[in-house]
Symmetry: C2
Subunit: 139 residues, 2 copies
DNA sequence: TGACTTAACTTGCATTTCACAAGTGACCGT
DNA sequence: ACGGTCACTTGTGAAATGCAAGTTAAGTCA
């Protein structure tokens, strides 16, 4: 999705221009749910994203202000990808996606406890994830 | 997005396999926010979706159980597209997308009142839209 | 120091999807 | 019967995707 041109002034369209493809939200998911920070971690997270596509998505997300990339101080080969505030604000969307999938996917892998937690305390789950991600930011 | 094969058992991935592209959620938006029901209404809703893509998306959404298509009784040329329960359950995601766009898009078209309503009474907004859509179903 | 490995890309290429324009066929009003 | 409308379908070039292989810079070990 090489940085889409603006299609309209609709906020939903704006959002989809940035994260509306089959891969981008999976990268965000890896960061939010599994704490992924590295290229290799995104690469090996199950769905099998191609390296060129991953590279492209990370760059677009960085250009879109959703994440930031820095070089690992202890190992110059490695990059560290971290969500910005704008990126962290995507957490509610991610939770809703998970909730919808959990409800409507007959073969869902979401444990029933987690589904119930989201159902009963959505705000709490969001706050928790948000706090985790923000603490990483100042690490 | 010709009906993606299942990439993993992740609920988010499941969701993205169905609605994770640049157009599908805009079709849903038209149905939820503007009450669109017709091919021509989706076509003329601002972003300029191509007819072949729209046709494909509607078919995929129908196959995915997110909407249903029926022939207009008064005019055999026209189709009526209506969201199923599964489709209506996407409303929270849509609201979150709108909220995120409204917050992070510097040129957002979302009126500040609506943004505040979502911020203060998300559940209320969702319930209202849901009720509207459900009443259409038994029309 | 030099060979080897690892991390993060980049390149090439065949396949798929997309955008755009044009065409088709069922159906309607007159 | 005829022109117009609605919902598609087809054709075509451009762009994105998936896959395999290659590249570059940096770290590791002998």
């Amino acid at each position: 999705m090489p940085l889409q041109h603006r299609r309209s002034d609709c906020p939903i369209s704006y959002c989809l221009d940035l994260v509306g493809d089959r891969w981008t939200m999976l990268v965000i998911r890896d960061m939010v749910m599994f704490g992924s920070k590295r290229f290799s971690e995104f690469q090996s997270s199950g769905e099998g994203i191609a390296t060129n596509v991953l590279s492209d998505r990370l760059q677009c997300l960085a250009e879109g202000g959703i994440l930031e990339c820095s070089v690992d101080r202890d190992d110059g080969r490695k990059r560290i990808y971290r969500l910005t505030e704008k990126g962290i604000d995507l957490v509610p969307i991610l939770i809703d996606l998970a909730q919808w999938g959990g409800r409507h996917d007959p073969n869902t892998a979401v444990p029933i406890e987690f589904r119930k937690r989201i159902e009963n305390d959505r705000e709490g789950v969001i706050a928790e994830l948000r706090a985790q991600l923000e603490s990483l930011g100042h690490g």
